[in-house]
Symmetry: C2
Subunit: 172 residues, 2 copies
């Protein structure tokens, strides 16, 4: 992974009383999306290392977490928990099945639905994954309370963004 660049520091960012100019906003905007992007990928990098010997990718780990917590689920439900659609989940679940961690079977009462269930091997993996969260939390260097606060803030932003999306396209 490439080293951190000297993060482009803003020359200054005084709390000016007047509305900031577009140039100012462009700068802040860049910082926000940079930071979020970077943080997301930094997490991905850590998970990649931690999950390597489990043979899981980060999104696959998320799916396994959902199954460990909720048991057998149709693809639809998994997608709701993870905000993923079938275009992403179908091939991912196929790979998990090929790895022997899950089964996929058409639901008898609704032939459209596919139920995903853990194999013994998939359930057993939960034990080996037990140490991942602690190591991840340690790697963030933040106390648990701050992480919880970060999570709350992120959820708030996500909700706001989701509700804002429909209106954006139409706007002026």
């Amino acid at each position: 992974m490439t080293a951190l660049p000297d993060l482009p520091e803003p020359p200054d960012l005084p709390d000016l009383p007047e509305p900031p100019a577009d140039a100012e906003l462009l700068r802040l905007d860049r910082q926000i999306c940079f930071s979020l992007n970077a943080a997301s990928r930094a997490f991905g990098g850590v998970y990649r290392v931690l999950l390597k010997d489990l043979g899981l990718t980060y999104p696959q780990y998320l799916v396994m977490l959902v199954l460990w917590e909720h048991g057998d689920l149709p693809v639809k439900r998994i997608g709701e928990y993870l905000r993923l659609d079938s275009g992403t989940l179908s091939p991912l679940l196929k790979r998990l099945e090929a790895a022997g961690l899950v089964r996929r079977e058409r639901s008898p009462e609704d032939e459209r639905s596919v139920t995903v269930s853990l194999t013994d091997e998939g359930s057993a993996l939960r034990e080996r994954a037990g140490r991942v969260p602690r190591r991840l939390l340690a790697a963030t260097g933040l106390p648990v309370e701050e992480l919880a606060a970060l999570r709350a803030l992120l959820d708030q932003v996500t909700l706001a963004l989701d509700t804002a999306v429909p209106g954006l396209a139409a706007e002026d």
Copy 2:
């Protein structure tokens, strides 16, 4: 985009004085990575809408932001600013070049390096992009100060994660 699922709320999360069990950590871990993932993709969704009529994707927009701010840059520098390597940037820059927004030319003084520069069209796009940041910030529903705080927290975590990565693989 699929609707927000009823976010799997933890039954409770009391501030227990004793170290939380692995199961507890597994839950928090899931929440953190869920939230960050979700936030990142929610931002992506908003940018996708906002950038649609500019003909840019979100990562392409990030590259343009860097060029608008810093002028001509070698691929290496762009990668440092954005934490991206040539495997990502090379095809992306080719697409920007095909769109007529940038030029790519071997540097005369170092034939290994490729300098990326804005075309007139690429520079002109900056004006049309001027309204994007304001609309994005509005969509987050957060005041600028909170976003700045969020950014600072994210940068802190990113730095911690980056420095932690090298040690992780070797651990116990």
